[in-house]
């Protein structure tokens, strides 16, 4: 019998922050979009806005361009501050491919 022991090469991952808490229900909530403007986001996200407004009474869905758009800016602290200041309950981020 031959035995080989070796290191797991995948290392470790450190979780340093939590995912945002979920909203209990969507009716009456204020929802925003953060768009990278790529991959048909300019069509898909407006469709989602329409669907949300149709399905949930009292929901307020901000326009797609309420926050800065584009890969270069959506990950910035400035955009995050604008999102926070807007008072939205949740945001949908799109689109990746």
């Amino acid at each position: 019998m031959a035995v080989i022991e070796f290191h797991d090469p995948s290392g470790t991952i450190e979780v340093t922050q939590r995912h945002a808490p979920r909203v209990g229900a969507l009716a009456g909530k204020r929802i925003g979009f953060v768009s990278n403007e790529q991959w048909q986001a300019y069509r898909m996200l407006p469709l989602l806005k329409t669907l949300l407004e149709a399905d949930f009474p009292g929901i307020e869905v901000l326009p797609i361009d309420a926050f800065p758009q584009g890969n270069a800016v959506i990950g910035s602290e400035e955009t995050a501050a604008l999102v926070k200041a807007s008072g939205v309950d949740a945001v949908i981020i799109g689109n990746a491919a």
């Binding site: 290191h7 090469p9 669907l51």
Partner: protein, 440 residues
């Protein structure tokens, strides 16, 4: 996407709704968004992460048993492939003994953290580098180069965070300057980008870097990296500048680009997404001056292309790395050329007429570029492929033959340099290499 999420320090799952790529193409049918809208609603309301809070821990040791050493070795390789830790070629299992041997080349403690490898965010230590180098068939004297390359790779200026996952098939190019190149048998001459049993350092170091990109960074084809083609990714590109062939007055790359004193060992890391051999030499009875000038035009012509990926480095990166053999450098210098005058010539003659740029849709890419300098360059006709001649990387490397030069097309937001730190025992490691591999 899970890699990107983990790279931000979040648990590696996230509330996502995923669709086939077809839906993301121009003119696509987006009705699946409506059909699956409940998944979006679920993500906003009831979704929960499957991961709890956690800190970095110890990577476990793995154990395989076989009926013989041969059988155990095969089983270890099967286990690594099953876990998607390899490149498909045979790997040295990173045993304690082999990793400890490699760590003999460490100038820093094994537990020192170098950062997290994007996009997955695997915690990267000196030991992680030694594990990857062990798997790649490396030796301890290679470790200082790998560690410097990893430090440069993880520097945000390199752009690795985006390029690791991007579709454009970027691969790191590591140029080594200083005495360490010859010391560890890093090829600077014939076939310096290819396999070489007498000078295997580049293959091992580059393969180790790729294994780190995959194993810690999660850059697996079609999952963590969306590279359409992934060329030159088995070993990346690691070579030494042929400093012995530099003409008098020509500074090494590390000195020119990063200001490192000549004679110091250093690395310079950029990203490229293409590799082209250029037949530089003339065919008939050209004078030396004609041969040089025609060759310069031919090289500039290869660069005069709408490489929109290259916009990533328009302002501060590089449009690419041009390699010329030492014999050509000597001839050019004899005719009065310098590295600076060659770069100036290439910059001027690789400019693209505005109508050709617009015809190819290049203007639209430039208009949406994040760099103001790049956007404003649209006013220039012909359009320069990079903001400054100084952005071209020109290195002397390759076999002593005058016919060809080599162009590594850039996809490089930055060019990052690092000095190489050596352990006190480094000369002893070179002696051991001489014992194991024969005389240099």
């Amino acid at each position: 996407m899970t890699n990107a999420v983990a790279g931000l320090g979040l648990a590696p799952d996230a509330a996502m709704v995923t669709f086939p790529i077809d839906m993301f193409l121009p003119g696509s049918d987006i009705s699946p968004v409506e059909a699956r809208r409940q998944e979006f609603y679920h993500g906003l309301t009831r979704w929960r992460s499957a991961f709890g809070d956690g800190a970095a821990g110890e990577a476990p040791m793995l154990r395989v048993e076989g009926t013989s050493v041969e059988d155990a070795f095969a089983r270890a390789n099967h286990l690594m492939l099953a876990n998607r830790w390899g490149d498909g070629l045979p790997l040295w299992p990173p045993t304690r003994e082999r990793v400890n041997w490699i760590l003999g080349g460490a100038a820093q403690p094994r537990g020192r953290t170098l950062g997290t490898f994007p996009p997955r965010g695997g915690v990267t230590t000196i030991e992680s580098c030694a594990i990857a180098l062990a798997m790649a068939g490396g030796r301890p004297e290679y470790l200082p180069v790998l560690v410097a390359a990893v430090e440069a790779f993880l520097d945000p200026q390199s752009g690795s965070e985006a390029l690791q996952a991007a579709s454009g098939s970027a691969f790191p190019v590591v140029i080594v300057n200083g005495p360490i190149g010859a010391g560890i048998r890093l090829n600077a001459g014939f076939g310096c980008l290819g396999p070489d049993p007498q000078r295997p350092a580049g293959a091992s170091i580059g393969r180790a870097l790729r294994l780190l990109q995959q194993n810690l960074g999660g850059a697996l084809p079609g999952v963590g990296t969306m590279a359409n083609y992934g060329g030159l990714r088995y070993t990346n590109v690691i070579f030494a500048e042929d400093e012995a062939s530099l003409p008098a007055g020509w500074a090494p790359h590390g000195t020119e680009r990063h200001g490192f004193p000549p004679g110091t060992s250093s690395i310079s890391l950029a990203f490229a997404n293409g590799a082209t051999n250029i037949r530089r030499r003339g065919a008939k009875k050209e004078t030396p001056e004609e041969d040089a000038r025609q060759g310069m035009h031919r090289m500039a012509d290869f660069m005069r292309v709408p490489n929109m990926a290259g916009l990533a480095g328009y302002e501060r990166g590089t449009p690419g790395i041009l390699m010329i053999p030492g014999v050509v450098a000597q001839t050019m210098a004899g005719l009065g050329w310098t590295k600076a005058s060659m770069r100036e010539f290439l910059w001027e003659h690789s400019r693209i007429p505005a109508d050709q740029l617009r015809r190819a849709g290049g203007a639209a890419w430039i208009e949406i570029d994040t760099s103001k300098v790049a956007r404003e360059s649209l006013a220039l006709d012909p359009w320069p492929i990079t903001a400054s001649p100084d952005n071209f990387i020109l290195v002397v490397a390759g076999g002593g033959h005058p016919t060809n030069s080599y162009w590594l097309q850039g996809y490089s937001p930055g060019v990052v340099g690092r000095l190489i730190e050596l352990p006190a025992s480094f000369e002893h490691l070179l002696d051991e290499a001489e014992r194991d591999l024969g005389a240099r």
